[in-house]
Symmetry: C2
Subunit: 328 residues, 2 copies
């Protein structure tokens, strides 16, 4: 395509710019140090002549999901899904709301819910995510995504993915990287949309999960989610999840909160060249502005240490020309 365009363009003003724009793999990233650092890193590790060259099999990129690939405010979208499911179930059978916390949850009383700590969240997850087969759960999440709308933007939740990160995922894959999601959220929840939304297949989605039970019901084997957590893929759990599922240390790590700190730290000690990236939520107008004091996606330690550790702090407001695919 380029040679044709070149000949059409020959002698015309502006063609040099057009070609440059066409060649830009990250058009929603504004020119600047951060964009340059990403382009330079990828160029070096994929250049066989460079002493920074990394073979394709080791080009592992891991991305957090909530707050890194899509929005996580006002609360994690999966929690909104859980509350919606709980409300739906309670309509059919109000007796399932058999505790203060479950009642608070369906009433939207987050203050009471949050005061209940992990135990309260586990109650909500058990009531909304457990005792359901993997197939039914996948269908339920897909249906919810197709109909539910975000309280602030009124967009479908999976339209609130970051256009610059979609471009980064594609760019890395074009350059021979395998892109993984390493989410503190539910592995099966993320898998329900990761292929369509991010182009990431199930085997490249790592996340938290409930225990699964294999049961043969009327001759039909099925896997059922049970109400206890098998793996928590957050903080130090992220390197553990990566080691278990990928078995290789990433060379590119992207996160946005202190829950990604250990994944960034671990990736940085790769004997191969590596790059860490932190999405800093600085854009109150187009998205949300939060860091050290947020109840969701708290970024404190990472913000303090990014400079010394050589991690890029992506300033959402300054570095991104666009936030969501369908809005500026």
């Amino acid at each position: 395509m380029l040679p044709n365009l070149k000949s059409v363009c020959a002698g015309l003003i502006g063609c040099a710019l057009t070609l440059q724009a066409l060649a830009d793999p990250l058009p929603s990233w504004r020119e600047g140090d951060n964009k340059n650092a990403i382009l330079e890193f990828v160029t070096n590790v994929t250049n066989p002549e460079s002493d920074q060259f990394v073979p394709v099999a080791s080009r592992i990129a891991t991305f957090d999901n909530d707050g890194t690939l899509w929005t996580e405010q006002p609360v994690y979208f999966q929690l909104i899904y859980a509350l919606d499911m709980l409300k739906e179930q309670a309509k059919k059978d109000p007796s399932i709301l058999d505790s203060t916390m479950l009642k608070a949850a369906v009433d939207g009383d987050f203050k009471t819910l949050m005061s209940g700590g992990k135990g309260a969240l586990q109650e909500v997850i058990n009531a909304s995510h457990a005792d359901i087969s993997l197939n039914e759960f996948e269908q339920s999440v897909k249906q919810w995504l197709a109909t539910a709308r975000h309280p602030k933007t009124n967009m479908p939740y999976n339209a609130m993915v970051y256009q610059p990160m979609l471009e980064l995922l594609s760019y890395l894959r074009d350059k021979g990287f395998t892109t993984y999601i390493v989410s503190g959220g539910g592995q099966m929840f993320v898998r329900a949309f990761a292929q369509d939304t991010y182009g990431i297949p199930p085997q490249q989605v790592i996340g938290s999960g409930l225990h699964l039970s294999y049961e043969v019901i009327n001759g039909n084997p099925q896997l059922t989610k049970k109400p206890d957590i098998a793996f928590l893929d957050d903080g130090p759990g992220k390197p553990v999840g990566i080691a278990t599922i990928i078995g290789k240390k990433p060379i590119f790590v992207a996160g946005n909160s202190d829950g990604d700190f250990e994944m960034l730290e671990w990736g940085s000690t790769n004997s191969l060249p590596s790059l860490g990236v932190i999405v800093h939520h600085t854009d109150a107008k187009r998205e949300y502005q939060y860091d050290r004091d947020s109840h969701i996606g708290k970024l404190d330690k990472g913000l303090s240490e990014a400079g010394d550790r050589g991690w890029l702090l992506i300033d959402m407001k300054e570095d991104w020309a666009k936030v969501y695919p369908k809005t500026p």
Copy 2:
């Protein structure tokens, strides 16, 4: 290459046969119903004109390891590794043999060891596999494989892989399948040799595993194996491991024992065409002969039900022209 050979061959007796042999992707499989059924299945699911066609993304093949890809007698090779490690450690510090079971283990007193059941095996695993970093463990397994020899054949353990299964793995990969190992043995143990021995990268090895702990020691993050089991990838655990790591149901499943029954059963309910294969150890001369009464790799239920369920029973003695790569 073929056109050249064809022109050289033109008019010569036997050239048709030579060409046929060259084209055979499974040369160590004797002609017969089982070989034909495998070839026919793969031909159908990869033929876009066939109503059995399966897209590349769904061509998932899962293989058990012990007894399916390599020998598992007189005991699982990983247990021999564990005992060797234990003996080595006890030489340096005899005080680690602080229980009847550990003493029995280093004395090769399998009768006492087996009488201790799972608890005894857990003791041996903890003493030999735990409190070691993943990197050190990988090096240890590699070094052991390079030097240890099998008590009966005097071959390195990783030379006791089945040539027909190596051909099957390559054949499936050539046809767009992704080949996974789903082992009841240790995931990290199998990963130490799976790439070199089977051409299977770490992210395609599923297995049992101890809990991993992320620790930063003198500024160096490392993952350490802890003395408690995180996941047992055996029996009903195999579909669970596949659902967690791959997130797709396999269309080709190979096993050899009742520990593979649920994996075979689950794969057989794929809405896509699927094939199940059981390696039946019938060759006392070239390998080992065992099934219903074996203490290792017991095949009872699978043997009884294979026919009704449409799984191929591979008769090692009859179906395989060759067992190991370097011996007949």
